[in-house]
Symmetry: C2
Subunit: 348 residues, 2 copies
């Protein structure tokens, strides 16, 4: 418990020099772990994430098991949304399902507000315990407003987000109200996590990449600016991540966010060549973890070589770890990233 | 029946000057049409596409109803795959489902070859009739090898293509055999369509955008080069389209393909600014068709203004028309595109 605090991840978030490239993995607590699967058989997702003891155990496990440089709070993006009057359940392999999706403007106006003390005391308790116990930074997290809105309107994961975009296009004022309510909720939620001890926060915007650049600029960017402006005042690094959002990076680069998380599609070099000057996080295709080790090592080297070309780089996968991945492969990969990127100490 | 042949689409494909911007829509024959829905209630997808009379009727309908400048053969990307020994059925709203997906290398070696005369006489008969009847060009089409492989391996539409990529990474030689077989099939299929009277052909590669740029270059680009090299010899324009494939456009630009179809994510201006110099087709978000007409018109203008900045541009949506879209909105949009982009004749 008394290991010195490992701040390599936080240094990278601030573009400071680091002794090696820090690494953590999206969904590093998940079904690929036998321990997780065992707990998941006995509890619903929300039972796990809202029981401080289990939440702490699950959040800590990958740090100890894999040797990663950061922990991420075990929670779901829908965790706070439940408390606004939206009935959510999480199903393995399906994701959130909502029994009372938003169908009318009145549904938007009816949404409640998040009260951290009343609604998420167990989540904050877990954050406090983790802050005490962990020897690596804890990343808090929340869903992006567009993604949350899509779940709330479609009622579940959607391929085309037609209902969501339909509302956005046809009822821009109602959309604006929804975005404001979700920005308020997100800020309340993330500020509470930071006050309880999160060292950085990530906004996970799974579906935002389904918007064209002009739609992102018109309907979502103002909300993201409010969120990152406010978070910046809290003095902790912020991360913004989306899937298939390569066409939005020029817009993201204008936001007051510290780190841009990249999915696996675009090479880091081509992202920087576009003039993106944020700290970058990513971006090996997690599917590669199903390949032979030689290929994993070759591709990890490619990603690391590109990442290390400039200061401010964090290794990660380009998407979450999935159930078929072997724990040992991730251990080996973590070790490889550390070993390959360590600057040898010079004895003088 | 004796209307003069409208070659505006073909001229645009060859970067020639056109009197206005030609327009057609992906999935312009589909469930948004009451006539289609009626037929679909009575027939399976393959019954419709493999009955020359119904196929001709469905392919012609949007040309007459909407006034578009090209017809696209009514078929599914899985049409030829069935004849290789893969059992496929198409379910509305789900897509292809395969009961005997590829699971081993032996399954790949067991795949048969497409024999146009024996396997697709009705499809070719429909092409011949359409060539006689239509006063606009007929676009033939086929699925992209990566997309077909994904369906054949996963057994259905997949979010992450893990099984497909797993095979690709772990068994690159078997993958290569599969790609070669699918390239052969695609060429046989498209050449037969061209010989029967298709004026242009489109390779629809729905899922190829799920590959990173390096994976596309390594595992798919050589196959696409063979396909487009061979098609080029047939002397008809070729179109390549994928969803979320913006990160692959630099690779696509190197292929001997005539037209790149863009999804809705990236603006045409930013694509050209990357140095992409092919004819472009696209790319309004089809979800916009759920919005008010003023917004549709505003966005269509934006897309058209950018498209017309250079020769070689075809208006389309960035994805297929979906069932909730109103026929009248598409009629109005088609008329608007023609009217807004018509170069006024000068009387002298």
């Amino acid at each position: 418990m008394n290991k010195p605090f490992n701040d390599v991840f936080l240094k990278a978030c601030r573009k400071e020099e680091t002794p090696y490239v820090p690494v953590w993995y999206m969904r590093q607590a998940g079904r690929y772990q036998p321990e997780y699967r065992k707990l998941r058989r006995e509890h619903s997702f929300f039972e796990m994430s809202e029981n401080p003891e289990i939440c702490v155990e699950i959040t800590r496990l990958p740090v100890e098991q894999l040797g990663v440089d950061a922990a991420i709070l075990f929670a779901d993006i829908m965790t706070p949304v439940k408390h606004l009057g939206i009935d959510v359940a999480i199903f393995p392999g399906i994701g959130p399902m909502i029994t009372n999706p938003i169908r009318t403007e009145a549904d938007i106006h009816r949404l409640g507000e998040l009260d951290p003390v009343a609604h998420i005391p167990t989540v904050l308790e877990a954050v406090r315990i983790l802050n005490q116990q962990l020897s690596v930074p804890l990343i808090g997290f929340a869903g992006g407003p567009f993604t949350l809105a899509s779940y709330m309107i479609e009622g579940q994961s959607s391929k085309n987000h037609h209902k969501t975009k339909g509302l956005m296009y046809a009822h821009p004022k109602a959309w604006q109200v929804l975005m404001e309510k979700l920005a308020d909720m997100t800020l309340t939620y993330l500020k509470a996590q930071i006050r309880a001890g999160a060292h950085a926060v990530k906004v996970f915007d799974s579906w935002v990449g389904s918007l064209s650049d002009v739609d992102f600029r018109t309907y979502v960017a103002p909300t993201m600016r409010v969120i990152f402006d406010e978070l910046q005042k809290m003095g902790v690094p912020t991360i913004y991540f989306g899937i298939g959002a390569g066409h939005l990076l020029a817009e993201w680069n204008k936001l007051p966010v510290s780190v841009i998380g990249l999915d696996w599609r675009t090479s880091i070099r081509s992202v920087r060549a576009q003039g993106i000057n944020k700290v970058l996080q990513g971006n090996m295709d997690p599917s590669l973890l199903l390949g032979p080790w030689e290929l994993i090592e070759e591709r990890a080297k490619q990603v690391l070589d590109q990442g290390m070309e400039r200061a401010g780089y964090i290794f990660n996968l380009g998407h979450g770890i999935f159930p078929e991945v072997q724990v040992d492969v991730l251990k080996k990969l973590t070790h490889f990233v550390h070993q390959y990127t360590t600057i040898p100490e010079v004895w003088g």
